[in-house]
């Protein structure tokens, strides 16, 4: 495997867990798939539609999301929203995320500090 593909895989792996957290974070109020895609994209989190839509169904199967067909607009759309378990999971994963980023940030800073010291 060449360097470019290795790097691409590493970034994909890094993003995989973050995508779920990002999706959960935007579903405190009900949204349909396409509007969620737009919303995430506007805030800088690009997700491929072919990743997002199956992910929504998986999270629903796991009981973290509820979904309902809304017939109020011109045509039916499926809306997703956090379930009780989803709210709980979001709180816990957010706390985990903050811990992780703080730790990783400090690890990176230390390494960079050492490097600067040597130089």
């Amino acid at each position: 495997m060449d360097y470019e593909s290795i790097l691409k895989n590493l970034v994909l792996e890094l993003r995989r867990g973050i995508l779920t957290l990002s999706v959960l974070s935007q579903l405190r109020s009900p949204r349909y798939g396409y509007s969620l895609l737009q919303l995430l994209s506007l805030q800088g989190m690009e997700i491929d539609q072919n990743t997002l839509y199956p992910l929504l169904r998986r999270l629903e199967q796991q009981g973290l999301l509820h979904s309902d067909w809304s017939l109020e607009q011109s045509r039916p759309r499926r809306y997703y929203v956090l379930s009780e378990a989803g709210h709980r999971a979001l709180r816990q994963i957010s706390a985990e995320w903050r811990n992780l980023t703080a730790t990783v940030e400090s690890l990176l800073r230390n390494e960079e500090g050492k490097k600067d010291g040597i130089d």
């Binding site: 396409y34 509007s35 737009q38 539609q49 839509y53 199956p54 045509r75 499926r78």
Partner: protein, 335 residues
């Protein structure tokens, strides 16, 4: 719009029945959303517009695979290698057995061997397809039955796992794949021969242009031993298929191998005491030879069969000794 219907139903066809309608409806709504998003000023969409959006959703098979809750395949990668091996052996036995049966049949009916060619394909195909079908069916069932056990053992490993209970790091005795494959082949062949072609066992000879056959085997004696041979051969088949799957010997498989060797030795010794060959059958040869000479020929054949049995007993005894020594070696390393 008809393109969208075609696309969602192509995806739906590849999905489990339970979720099909739901995913189809959702996919359709998502495609319409994507169209609106990409062409906000349009109310009517051209074929090119729809095609472009559908391309983003990917080929129906890929789209369905993203939604399918579990892998949809007949035989998975863990079992595939051993499936190929077993299918190969069964196919070889089926083809070999059919060809042999055809040759014997043609020879008995005095048809030249060239007559074999037009009968070869129609003769081989049904048996080969049926046996391959059975093997595939068995493995498809295994594929669906085995993972649960795997899950159980994984759960077990997570909960009750104790490093102190790990077996000692004994170098595992690897199974010789070739040996087991040959055993499977001959067990199957012998099973087929004994059960379907026992009445064809005898002496074949050419009398001028005619093939003649005399039954010299004592059919009653062979029939008396048949249930034991069937049980032994089936047990041996099971033993070697398990060895081929596991790829290494365990104490259990050694013990089974030893039991099978002892059982085979018993049956072979019992057979040695029975009159397997009827020398009187040779009297039917007639011709110019004297009856006494024909009987002597018969006794010679009976002696040859007895020598064959003695050789089989010797071979089995050597095998038994090897198995016992391997078992003691494993035990000695374990304790």
């Amino acid at each position: 719009m008809e393109l969208i219907e075609r696309y969602v139903s192509a995806v739906g066809r590849r999905l489990p029945h339970k979720v099909r309608e739901d995913i189809r409806a959702e996919l359709k709504s998502l495609i319409l959303d994507a169209l609106e998003g990409r062409f906000p000023d349009k109310t009517e969409y051209s074929e090119e517009d729809i095609t472009a959006v559908l391309r983003d959703f990917g080929p129906p098979a890929e789209a369905a695979a993203r939604y399918a809750p579990s892998a949809r395949y007949l035989i998975g990668p863990q079992l595939f290698e051993i499936y190929l091996l077993v299918a190969g052996i069964v196919l070889a036995v089926s083809v070999f057995g059919t060809v042999m049966a055809l040759i014997i049949e043609l020879s008995v009916n005095n048809v030249p061997l060239a007559g074999l060619i037009p009968r070869l394909l129609p003769g081989i195909l049904p048996g080969a397809v049926t046996s391959l079908g059975f093997v595939t069916l068995i493995f498809a069932v295994l594929e669906r039955v085995l993972p649960d056990k795997e899950k159980e053992s994984l759960l077990d490993a997570a909960g009750k796992w104790d490093p102190r209970k790990l077996p000692p790091a004994v170098p595992q005795q690897r199974v010789k794949i070739g040996e087991s494959a040959v055993s499977v082949f001959f067990s199957l062949l012998l099973l087929i021969m004994l059960n379907f072609f026992a009445h064809r066992l005898g002496v074949y000879f050419k009398d001028g242009t005619q093939w003649q056959f005399i039954e010299t085997v004592n059919r009653d004696v062979v029939a008396g031993f048949l249930p034991y041979w069937n049980a032994l051969l089936l047990a041996s088949l099971f033993h070697h298929v398990v060895l081929l799957v596991k790829r290494h010997w365990s104490v259990g498989s050694r013990l089974l191998g030893i039991s099978l060797s002892i059982a085979a030795l018993t049956v072979l010794s019992l057979m040695l005491r029975k009159p397997l060959i009827l020398p009187e059958g040779f009297l039917a040869l007639g011709g110019t030879a004297a009856g006494e000479d024909l009987l002597r020929l018969g006794r010679l054949l009976a002696a040859a069969v007895r020598i064959g049995l003695i050789l089989a007993i010797a071979g089995n005894t050597v095998d038994l000794a090897k198995q016992l020594s391997a078992l003691f070696k494993t035990k000695a390393q374990t304790f």
